[in-house]
Amino acid sequence: MKKKVVIILFIFLVIGFLIRFINLDKSPPGFDWDERSHAYNALSIAQTGKDEWGKSFPTVFRAFGDNKLPLYTYLTAFFIKIFGMNIISSKLTAIFSGVLSILIIYFIFKELFENKKWALLASFFMVFSPHSLFFSRIALEPILANLLIISGFLFAIKFFKNKSSFHFFLATIFLIASLFTYHLSRVISPILLFFLFIFAFPNFKKTLRSIIFYITMLSVTGIFIFSQYSSESVLKFKTAGLFGQNKGTVMEIDEFRGHDKDNLISRILHNKVTFFSFALIGNYVSHFSFDYLLNFRETNSVQQSYFPPIFIIMLPFYYFGLMFLIKDIFSKRKFEEKLISLFFLIWIFTSPIPSTITETAPDSRRALGSLGSWEILTAFGLLMVFLKIKKDSLKKIFFISFLALYLISLIFFLNNFFLIYPDKYDYVYAFKENKIVELIKKNYSKYDFFVYSRTVANQPQIFALTALNYPPEKYMKEKKWIEKDRWFVINEFDKFIFYEEITPIVLTTEKFKGKKIALFLTKNEYLKNIEFFKNNIITQNTYPSKATYDTGEPKEILYLIVLKL
């Protein structure tokens, strides 16, 4: 039995790796600014030991001014050192995180419900989990954060079962490590750590050694947690989150008070407490809703999964699983016996919080802390329903029917993921920016200047840097930049010059005279400027997205104009 399980798990890991690895550059259909920023900083660390701003082994990467947490970049630096900088090496950290989580989910289920066969099913769900697949294929931190959280969770429940200090130590280490990956873990991990320490206290032996160990771990954890909440993180929370001035909810309060001419009743009913509570509860609940779990909302944003967290056939069993779990909590067993289920429930109910406090909730990236819980609950729900069926023949029919429907859903999903989605959504995934990278790679030596704006490419410098694997040392010295609203704006380096917008004025500067300039433009910029430079054009090309409107017009279009002024 043990050997069989190992072989099956090994097969799952191989399939999990392959499915996360094949066509890596096609689906998702691009490599966006944040992914490139991680990759370039990793390259910089691998080559110089400094980030792009020249800071040696930073604990926070300044990047564009968004202060990226460091763990993903450092792990990627390791792969970049070995394989050089390319899309694959930049994404290997995410891929391995996704693959390892297949294994972790197996062990979590086994620990929670003591059933190896059904643990294999949970791990099978993880192999093809749409969100795991999506986030393992983009070079961003959430999937790594998820891996560390579930690893910490696994060792925590192992500790609750066998009271081993080593497991307690590992649980704490993994959860602390997750604090350095992504902002979602800054919410989830402290809560899990809090309950871990609370529940752990009665489970420790009352010896001096154990007490010292407990207090030491508690102090270290406390220091790490509090170090995370600098004034900058608080500011980020205020601006990126649901709260803060000029946010939708605040404007809504003003509108409603305006209707009532700001009278007393209005102020009692329409205030931040009532409206934010309403928004927060609504956001929170939406993470358990069909709308999110089956992905009925069309999202048009990069770094968001276009796929549901679970397949429709899994949905009823997910809810059953949740209900049976809650029932277990209210059962008349001893508290110690229910501790593991309770801790599992804490994870389930904590993980939507990071996404809840954002304006765009439910946000698949920030809600990725739930990844794994969906699969475990579905397998648990299936197990419970399976156990309720008395006849063996019916059990077989039930299981085979479920599997058949699951496989049909899976085929649809894979077809969508690899064949339909890349063409249909290429315009969302930094289409113009990725095209610019291609064109810079091909034509770097041909032109004296490459000029483009922040309208055509968000964070324009990162695309040139990663197109050329531009030497970080050189970039650190050459770049000209300013700070604007806490963001770092790069204006030029090497042959590259960036503007807010391309206008005739910016093109009439002295340095461009007699030079061959490659201009990357949006359609709007092209139409606005064509009159000005129509006599200076040497060549011009357009690059339309594959995605089109019903009229056949491309959803995005990039113009490359070569000029001699």
């Binding site: 409603f256 209707h259 009913l269 409206f275 509860i281 609940v285 939406s286 069909f290 009925f296």
Partner: protein, 404 residues
Amino acid sequence: MKKITKNKFLILSIFIIVLNIFIKGFLVTSHPNSISPEEIDLITRLSFLKSFNPYSLRYVIVIISSLFATFSFIFLYVITKNLSWSFFSGLLLTYSPWIFIISRYSNFYLVILSVCISLFLFFYQSKLKYIFIFFLIFISGYLLYQSKIFITNNYISDFRAILRLIDFKNLYFTGDYTSSFIRIPKTGFFLLFEFIIFLYGIYTLVFEIGNHKIKKIIFDFFLIGFIWFFITPNNLIISNKSMFIFYSISLVIAFGYSSLLSKKHIYALFFMPLIFCGFVFYQELFYFHFDIKNSSDWGFAEEKISKFLEKNNQNINTVYVSGDASSFIKYLPIFSKNFEIKKINIVENDWIRDKAVIKCFEKKTLCIFKDSDIKLSKFDNTNINKQIYYYNGLTAYVIFSKKN
């Protein structure tokens, strides 16, 4: 003992009907503050209603809705002998936002809902009840949509729509996500905190043995709800398309309340103030914000323009109306009884572009346009003779004519 229960039952029945009339009937002629296009359609269809004040007709719907809540309580009690569950179901039919709002304007849907459910429950002991109810809802659907039932539907998208509908967020937070017409701002179909009671109701229904009759009734209404959902057209607003499903959800919530009350009094007492606050909150939103937020979906501006035409009837020979601005015409027979509709000419965009600037300023002529039509014409804002506003203060119609 029996007598005590009988008295309780009687008192509760009276309580429900009085509370219904009070909650649903309070200021019903002024809130909503205008007549909706749906009410106009109803009055036009049933022409004998034209002689009544369209606002006063709303009392009929209040009475039907109140009787429905009371009958529901009575029949559910007779079938199950579960007083607290049937009482809570009657209570939910009194204050739940989904039924509160459809009880405040004249419409067919509430009548269909009330008649179908009351008759189904009345004949619940009969074996023919299913044939009877399905016949009834098909007839209702046919009367409303004639041959359109079945044909206009796309079943896969309907299936998705049902899943969207019974989504927690839409049920308890968003409300009618397809149209703002009868959406109370920041209010779901049910009160926010009832979300927890609903989950508790489901939990007890699934895990508790017994209560077979209640489970069966709830299941029956879900089934009826699904059929109604599938036979009604896709473009029907979700509040009307889902009313039978809402009824069954109300029964689940009522079951949650009654289970909670029977087992854990303290929790039930904890929820009462929350529910009361939720009720007050949404009532304030209805009475003070609904008309402002939804004024373009109702007939405030249409009523005003109809009255304007009625007042100036003698001085007008021809009225040119753009296609976009023509929605007020159906209000004329109700609010402008003396105005002859044949004076109205609906004009195309080309006409507005080429001729409006001359024709609109002819003697005894009026042009009624939407704001967006002004861009087509050669007018500027100084040519505007009068503007008609929505209740929220935005411009609904602009009138061009020769200034006196």
